[in-house]
């Protein structure tokens, strides 16, 4: 065999593109009853320690310490189930969950579904991490504090900022932190009654609009110009003496890097306002572009996207918030500081916004991010960016060859880490839109793609993000699945509209439950009362 590696990848790629090597996948289908319907009275799942005889002799009956009227009447209607049966039940549920480790999560664009190294999981599961109490004397948490402090230094370097907090419990939470920091900045300047408008763009994440609203600001949303960039004129027109600042992404969800971003920042600064950039997903720019260099006053990163912490069925997560020295005094307490060789929790910060989260934060994510950054080093981080950008453009090349797929905006410009595509043509030609294709692709063992946040500005959108984790083979396969779906749509649209075909359940019904108070049931007890009783 004299096939070179180069030839081998080319051959496999050809095969994939011809649709020859898709997985003949069947999702596990366990038909598993709800746990509330399982088990029999008297079964036990785990035994708990009982008070010792001496203890009981000394203090008497536990119930006597509960005030009259505060004793529980009817026992809670929880399952009574032996341990193995509980384990089996949840393992079946895990099998019916196509996590990133199983399915190719190129699909979930804007989410940067990268590989979360298993070794990091061992680190956080050990008692030196998992069984640390947040109020422990800082002297007994020096290892954790060092990891947090050093991670903060790395993130400062990556963003160009001066100060950090790792308290927020997710990306949106870090974005909220920004809204609060800006609020405090203008409160301190006595300008809060004058400034009450925050500017964002429609292609920035919804939290860039929602969190300033929660912080008390009016939100102005700038729409894209014909090239997909936030309309600079509209942006300028939105800025006034009432402006608090902006909260925007770059590249936005479209993957288009805004080359004028510093001009937008300048407009804000000229009006005395502040500029924040949401870098939840910084995978394409690591080591290539820094928020500070474009003039921003603050930014954030999601440690569960760019920095490899896993998503855990939507959390727990960590948001890293970074800012300039000017804003640092407003950061939440406690701050992690270093004096000499010792690390401290600094609560003595009178100008702080207070807290956004209890205790210290969700530092599991920080430990993983620390390990990941140390593993890659400065060159490795740039390689991550470079390969994700290369992967994205390679995939783009394949997807743009699929009938019915288009890529709105900025013709002639390459995207960085992700692309927002449109299936408008496919829908027009076949009636198969993005939702139907999304429900079809899972039949190949590939996670359903992220379409778009609301509102859909791009019609029939989908947004893949093939970060550095994915091999060329993975990219070929992903594109082949989209091509397969398109081919099927043109050949037999109804088949695609009836999707999925290889999943644990059939198409959803009782859609009215999503909106109608008489139909929704947020718990099993509600379902039993409202729906089962009726039939």
């Amino acid at each position: 065999m004299s096939e070179t590696p180069h030839e081998k990848v080319a051959r496999l790629g050809r095969l994939r593109r011809e649709g020859g090597v898709l997985h003949d996948y069947r999702a596990p289908r366990w038909d598993e009853p709800f746990i509330m319907e399982q088990g029999l009275p008297g079964e036990r799942g785990v035994l708990v320690p009982l008070a010792e005889d001496d203890v009981t002799a000394a203090v008497g009956e536990a119930a006597d310490y509960i005030p009259e009227g505060m004793r529980r009447g009817a026992a809670p209607d929880l399952p009574e189930m032996s341990q193995y049966q509980v384990l089996r039940h949840y393992l079946r549920y895990s099998q019916m969950t196509l996590g990133m480790d199983l399915g190719s999560d190129i699909s979930e664009g804007t989410c940067t579904m990268k590989y979360s190294p298993k070794m990091h999981e061992e680190l956080i599961r050990g008692h030196k991490s998992a069984d640390v109490h947040p109020w422990q004397d800082e002297e007994t948490m020096q290892g954790l504090l060092e990891i947090v402090y050093e991670t903060g230094q790395y993130l400062k370097s990556i963003s160009g900022m001066d100060a950090f907090t790792l308290q927020p419990g997710g990306g949106s939470h870090a974005v909220f932190t920004n809204a609060c920091v800006m609020r405090r900045y203008f409160e301190a300047k006595g300008e809060l009654d004058q400034r009450d408008e925050m500017i964002t763009t429609i292609f920035s994440h919804p939290c860039d609009a929602a969190t300033p609203m929660v912080a008390g600001f009016k939100v102005i949303t700038v729409m894209p110009d014909e090239n997909g960039y936030p309309d600079l004129e509209a942006f300028q027109a939105a800025v006034s003496e009432k402006t608090v600042g902006c909260m925007i992404t770059n590249p936005e969800d479209t993957g288009i890097y805004n080359p004028q971003i510093d001009k937008y920042v300048e407009v804000l600064h000229d009006a005395g306002a502040l500029a924040f950039t949401d870098q939840a997903n910084a995978n394409g720019i690591l080591g290539y572009a820094r928020a500070r260099d474009a003039g921003f006053d603050a930014c954030h990163f999601n440690l569960h996207k760019t920095f490899s912490s896993p998503h855990g069925c939507e959390g727990p997560a960590t948001g890293a918030y970074l800012c300039t020295d000017e804003l640092a005094r407003y950061l939440p307490v406690p701050m992690v500081t270093r004096v000499g060789d010792a690390y401290h929790l600094d609560y003595d910060r009178p100008e702080s916004i207070g807290r956004v989260r209890g205790f210290l934060g969700t530092w599991m994510g920080v430990i993983r991010a620390y390990a990941w950054i140390r593993n890659l080093g400065p060159e490795g981080l740039k390689e991550v960016a470079e390969i994700s950008v290369l992967n994205n453009n390679y995939l783009d090349n394949l997807l743009m060859a699929v009938k019915g797929v288009s890529r709105p905006y900025a013709e002639g410009h390459r995207r960085l880490d992700q692309v927002r595509y449109s299936l408008e043509q496919l829908k027009e030609d076949t009636g198969v839109g993005t939702e139907a294709l999304r429900d079809r692709m899972v039949d190949f063992g590939i996670q359903s793609f992220w379409m778009s946040h609301h509102p859909w500005v791009v019609p029939e959108p989908f947004t893949p993000e093939p970060c550095e984790t994915y091999s060329k083979d993975d990219l070929d396969e992903w594109a082949a699945v989209i091509k397969k779906g398109s081919d099927e749509a043109y050949a037999d649209a109804q088949f695609v509209l009836d999707s999925p075909h290889a999943q644990p359940i059939d198409q959803l019904r009782r859609i009215e439950a999503m909106e109608d108070p008489k139909e929704w049931a947020f718990t099993w007890r509600a379902y039993k009362k409202k729906i089962l009783r009726r039939t």
Binding site: L91, Y93, T97, D262, C313, G315, G358, A526
Partner: protein
């Protein structure tokens, strides 16, 4: 390293031949041509100030574990501190389930492909609903302080009133978080937090003071049970009644692990409950194990409509008898309506809800009842032993679940001094309350759960005796 190609196990396409093949296919000579999208003036010109890579997994493991080993954990030491994050036993089955790769690595996949995740989430909501005696349970997020603030805002939206009344011995940390969410008072949309008093003898709320302060301008009355200082609030039902007399909502802050033995907020007539699920199967993770829930009666759709967090409803499918789970009222969240939504939602604490589901399922009604009885018995035993030490006094009502206030004034030592010395005995003492509640003197909030047995408690008492002597 500079002249060797960087081939990383997490980056398959870092292999030069692959990279080249891909570039060839794109007709590019290097990735630089793509980065031309970033103008030169915005390009990072300095090398990242990050130490060189520790490439081999073995070396990295050694390095990071070496840092973590500088910590003393609550396995190394005996821990008698709770105060918002509690050390309970985590059954191994919980960790086994939530460490499954599928769950650890899943995110926001669709109704079909991530079905198991949604079913587990619905079961969590359902079981927590049983504990709380509520039909509506929303998808938890961040932690108790966060959901307390969100509950206040929710009450404001429901009633159209902009003040909430909270007990002045509410957890100071949770209060700080809630304040951040409630906005500075000068802002038009702010929710104003006002206080009612607590009885310094018992630790319960002062009902007379509550009656005196409440009027028809309040959106809600909030109380906590067990309160931050450990007391089981005896007057829950009366608080509800007083709130309702003024058209205000009653919001209960609860630790659900107590509900195997304590009356649930639903039975007390509360409109909304919030609290933390950390006790239900989460390791402490230095506070990262926390996760806040919001629940409500769901007798009036306005509670669901104004609920700030995601809601999931059970669905059916084309096959009779087959269930699915889908998001309900998605339009009211920030994902549905951006700044027109009720609040914001984001990556929350999904894995913890699965842990709590497994925990509630294995504990069952009997497990939670026994756990409650053990916590009460052992904490009272600890209080008894500590109270016998010269100069040490137990404060407040004996109605507590697992946390109680220990005053050291008579020892002439500060809590800080005592806790430092206890470290020498490999013991974490109680949370120092002297700054938060100066009226309690040199007091600490001790916590004894089912995790620690009689011998551990006796070790604690002996050590406290030594360090206070």
């Amino acid at each position: 390293m500079a002249d060797k190609p960087f081939i990383h196990p997490y980056i398959p396409n870092s292999v030069p031949a692959t990279k080249q093949a891909m570039l060839d296919e794109l007709g590019l000579s290097s990735v630089e041509e793509i980065y031309a999208e970033i103008p030169d003036r915005l390009r990072c010109k300095v090398p990242l100030d990050i130490p060189p890579a520790i490439l081999a997994e073995r070396d990295l493991r050694r390095h990071v574990q070496g840092l973590l080993d500088k910590n003393a954990s609550c396995v190394d030491y005996l821990n008698f501190c709770g105060a918002g994050c509690w050390q309970h036993h985590v059954p191994s089955i919980v960790d086994e389930v939530i460490n499954r790769a599928e769950f650890v690595s899943a995110y926001c996949g669709g109704d079909y492909s991530d079905l198991g995740k949604y079913l587990a989430r619905f079961e969590f909501n359902s079981m927590l609903g049983e504990l709380l005696d509520f039909d509506g349970v929303a998808n938890p997020i961040y932690d108790w302080g966060d959901v307390a603030g969100r509950s206040f805002r929710m009450a404001r939206r429901i009633t159209g009133r902009d003040k909430v009344l909270v007990p002045s011995h509410m957890s100071p940390m949770r209060l700080m978080e809630a304040r951040t969410l409630c906005q500075p008072e000068a802002m038009a949309g702010s929710t104003k937090i006002r206080f009612y008093e607590w009885d310094r003898e018992t630790g319960m709320v002062d009902l007379d003071d509550l009656r005196g302060r409440l009027d028809d301008s309040f959106a809600a009355v909030y109380w906590e049970s067990p309160g931050y200082l450990g007391t089981i609030e005896a007057h829950g039902a009366e608080i509800v009644k007083i709130a309702h007399e003024h058209g205000a909502l009653a919001i209960a802050g609860v630790d659900p692990i107590t509900l195997g033995v304590l009356a649930p907020p639903g039975a007390l007539g509360a409109d909304i409950a919030c609290g933390d699920i950390q006790g239900l199967g989460m390791h402490m993770h230095a506070g990262g194990g926390c996760s806040g829930f919001i629940a409500f009666k769901d007798d009036d759709p306005v509670f669901a409509q104004e609920c700030p967090l995601e809601l999931y409803t059970v669905m059916e499918t084309a096959t009779p008898g087959q269930y699915a789970v889908a998001e309900a009222l998605a339009e009211r969240t920030s994902y549905g309506a951006r700044d027109q939504g009720k609040d914001w939602v984001g990556t929350a604490s999904g894995l913890w809800t699965i842990a709590a589901a497994v925990y509630m399922a294995v504990m069952g009604p009997q497990g939670l009842k026994e756990l409650g009885e053990t916590c009460i018995a052992r904490s009272h035993y600890a209080a008894k032993l500590l109270g016998e030490i010269p100069g040490v006094q137990i404060r407040l009502s004996p109605s507590y679940f697992m946390e109680f206030v220990v005053e050291f004034d008579g020892t002439g030592k500060t809590v800080a001094e005592i806790n430092k010395k206890l470290l020498g005995h490999q013991i974490f003492g109680g949370k120092d309350l002297s700054a938060e509640f100066p009226e309690l003197g040199q007091s600490a909030l001790y916590c004894v759960t089912e995790y620690y047995d009689q011998a551990d408690i006796e070790t604690l008492a002996a050590a406290v005796k030594v360090v206070t002597a």
